[in-house]
Symmetry: D2
Subunit: 347 residues, 4 copies
């Protein structure tokens, strides 16, 4: 039995962790914390959990956290870094869904997150939790950094091409569309139904925090320099990310649609959560809603010598809490798919 705690469980990645963990026979949810909701029944805040989870929110510094085998941080950025050390010292393994340990380059981290890192000495040890790249390291991790939602979809789409050196890595573009839950459960004007529904817009056009994370991931896969343009969009739906990826074929490279299809199928042949679609089918976020799958298609546009990859995931599952649990499964020697085999809710 894995004893688990969740810190900051009042947002969307929090409730998604609880939804996925509560039914597990091999996991015991021991403690769920919230600064604001301390003492309140979790099921009153998240009515879907009524009858499934009989816990009250504990204080953020609950002593029970140190009794856990694993603690998840579902906190905003720059929170986990203050609390991780103490937990690790108590023998607890930590899975951080925030950005605190995603970037190895501290100066870069500090530039994008606007604060000094409170725990720089642990950054080198943190393992980047993208199992499709990093599976073996994950198994042994004490401190795991769950990738961001966009970086998951974008890296899974680009990696087969970048790893093989087929595309011009200095001219990569990701045009990504995210459901509104990606912004979290913040009482913020532009996330109101009346503001965000029946409309689409780009944001953070000048630079988004997931840009350096994606560049770091792509750079690990190639020795060529990375030039990357990333434009995220707020899409009028609750869940889902669709990343439309543009990768110009290198001038010297040969390509056919069949070869492209084979490259993707081979790369992900043994991955339980990546589905390379048959040639001619295209992903839609609805086909992965509520599931831990990432659906991918790749198309070769001969005239423009452009490869267009489409990559769809549920931002709260494969893009956050599902991936966190996939990492937990690896870290604790469970079946990698345990608790993650639910089929997407369609329609």
């Amino acid at each position: 039995m894995i004893k688990a705690g969740v810190i900051g469980a009042t947002g969307y990645t929090g409730v998604e962790l609880l939804r996925l963990l509560a039914p597990r026979p091999d996991v015991e949810l021991c403690v769920v914390t919230s600064r604001e909701l301390q003492g309140k029944a979790v099921a009153s805040h998240f009515p879907n959990l009524r009858g499934h989870l009989d816990l009250r929110f504990a204080a953020a510094d609950s002593a029970e956290l140190k009794q856990c085998d694993v603690v998840f941080f579902a906190t905003p950025h720059a929170v986990a870094m203050y609390a991780v050390r103490e937990l690790l010292e108590a023998g607890v393994r930590v899975i951080d869904l925030s950005a605190d340990f995603r970037l190895q380059d501290l100066a870069l981290w500090q530039r994008w997150y606007g604060v000094e890192h409170a725990c720089p000495e642990l950054v080198p040890e943190a393992v980047y939790g993208l199992p499709e790249v990093n599976r073996e390291q994950i198994r042994g991790a004490r401190l795991l950094a769950v990738p961001g939602c966009y970086p998951t979809a974008v890296q899974l789409g680009f990696l087969p091409l970048v790893e093989l050196g087929l595309v011009a890595t200095q001219q990569l573009i990701a045009d990504a569309k995210s459901g509104v839950s990606g912004a979290g459960r913040k009482a913020q004007e532009d996330l109101l139904l009346c503001e965000a529904s029946e409309s689409i817009k780009a944001y953070a056009v000048g630079g988004h925090r997931h840009h350096p994370e994606i560049c770091q991931g792509l750079a690990r896969a190639t020795s060529e320099p990375i030039g990357f343009t990333f434009i995220p969009h707020l899409t009028p739906m609750i869940r889902g990310i669709l990343a439309t990826l543009y990768a110009p074929l290198k001038s010297a490279a040969d390509m056919t649609p069949e070869r492209l299809q084979r490259i993707f199928e081979d790369r992900y042949a043994s991955e339980p959560f990546v589905r390379v679609l048959p040639a001619g089918e295209l992903p839609a976020t609805r086909a992965v809603r509520g599931s831990n799958k990432c659906d991918i298609s790749a198309t070769y546009l001969e005239e423009a010598r452009m490869i267009v990859v489409l990559s769809a995931e549920d931002n709260l599952v494969k893009g956050a809490s599902g991936q966190a649990i996939q990492n937990m499964n690896l870290m604790f020697g469970c079946d990698e798919t345990a608790g993650l085999d639910a089929i997407a809710l369609l329609p």
Copy 2:
């Protein structure tokens, strides 16, 4: 191992049956039929099932159906009645999600469905599959009629009051709001996103087919005459039914909010899928989306001597396919909640 078949699995109740049955270790999905899609891979039609179900649609009259232990009809009305007899004779138990065997009064059925019943001799044997009313009979059923989506939400809301004789049964009103999936997967103009989103409307104001079914169910619970007004509404969302029920207190009756709360809590104390909300909380369809739960609240308005019950379900789960499987579980001696304990997807 229960060998199961699904007839007419190309609509929303069909895919929902497959979503709920495919992961079951104790159920084998043997045959899935479709008149139009015969030979096509099920996962190409329902991309959420890719990697979970490796079947092709069989012909509607596939011989394999008779090898099954149970066959579900996810067909439009007036289809099952032609095929049920042969299956029963082959020893197959039948769970019909359509309306063919819901009404015991054949003349009434024929008036509302506009055709002559093809199999009147089996109607008396058919068991009405609302486990909260009928559990024991269901266990022994050969032919099971799954209640309609509206009738499930409305009956579960009214029954505690009607059974105790507390309300004026001649003045009951149900104002019901359904997501668009309730209308099925029909390429019909008024179900287009551009027609059905950002708008709400009533329909079938002069009379809806679920009216007689609800009346039949309420009449079983009381000897008093039933007078019932039912107005369904098309609501701009995919899934969910919210029924707002108005029941005037009988003039002689006494009531307090506390007593009302207790009546509902007692009635459903041992029901695994009905959640009576704590006093002061109100149901929302999002708290049951994708789950087999029905959430209920009851409020007493003293000034108007009116009881207002709110009843929320996922029309495709507790209102259709989930309830069908709950019935299957009872019929085959499984745990009633087997395969139905998933937590609602929120947000």
Copy 3:
């Protein structure tokens, strides 16, 4: 040229006033105030107005307000009552979109709004701005109280029946469904897209502030006592109210569908903004989106002796800002439909 000011123009009724007033050749928008946005360009806050309105938000107590012929209050409740007297004394006519002057019974107002009324001496003078009831009084009003969104739809639906004494006024029920904009532009959790879309719920079941306003309006139309149950619902769409009204026919009364249709057609024959639909057609909020129309149908259910009226409006237009301007037109001797004849945006 009518010189107009708008106080508190940062919410949805505010921007709707500006949208409707800015193109008027006979109205000059002189001053638009906002406590928080003082100094900011209105078009930066409301990007739809860019190129149409070249104003900056002024302070809430701008001296220019007293230079206006008319000032609209698009403020929350309990704001206008502090400022109205001074404006009236300066000769400005006031149109209040908030609830401050809607209820003639001060004790009732104070009970529902939880504060003492700051300006009780002006309440008797305030004219209730429902032109379909009150047109002549409106023309001469100095201080006009714009009806609430729900009260407009509900009264227009019930009045033809109540005025003629046909229905049991002690058993009236309104089941009302409102788009989320009815709650205003508040950064409040339950109005987020992720909370309010793909779900429907009732709220304020124990009592809503529009209940006494509706009762007051119905009571003016009959000498019989009013018993009224009102359940509002938050519907996953931006704009629109659909009120489903249940009125039991009096036991002595005779009714036919034809007579019922005629009653509604006669009542509203000369009303420019009420469309009684042909028999057999039902309203949908999309048919009035962005317009000042209220669409109404009435159906007689013989078996239950129940009349079901459906009444649809855009809550921000006929339910608020459009009606405010309709009142302004009457008060200033303009054509009643001036600036309000835009056709609803469909789809």
Copy 4:
């Protein structure tokens, strides 16, 4: 008084033409045709028009069409080309919202539309109705081809850069997101609310009919060869197109954010319907919903030497019917903005 007819007015561009033309004091809507709905009241089909337009659908070949000054074709592709000649010979000017006369290269047209052109001799005469490029020619047009919805947004976004020779025209990318109304009012499965809401997907990745139209338009603005990748996406909303445009700066070119801003402001300084947003603001489709505006921003990403242009329009207004009327205004010497100055509906 301009006498106008609309052919094929049962779809979304049709109702939008009627919405915009019906209130015009200088336009008389004489005849509105529909093959399927002949004889039916227009307002029964389009309930928003009730009380605004008292016409019945006429036969598709109504003789009244030849009495018109102008006839709009709101028909599917490959319909207008059979009927235009006869109308022109009768002295009627024709505005075609379909694609029949958009492409000057007939072979290309035939490749993309899959039929032989029925009226090739008129193609050279047809004027492409993008007033921001072609205003003078439009005034004298007898036969006007209204640009497609995507081509309008994409060309308006790219043209300032292409005309000045600043960007690598062989590496242009448009990632476009369209509301579902762009697909028309077809009872087609993938346009159902249950299929298209709460999801986003790309489509026509291998090639979309608007690709050659956009290339033709860009080629007119430069002597350099065009290489263009175009990926359209179906977005869960009714109206709106957002085009995210990627244009790599030429290696030799200099650029600053200020210069880029000035280039766009200068290009559109006197255009009534193009709003270049202030630096730092980004378009959203909600700010143009229901209006004839196109909102544009341009951002220079120095590190990647990439210019990202965002261009937002209402696909049914500036992308179709509004632009058609803007063209009519020019052709008939009206004020170019007549009937098109409505402010977008927000929220």
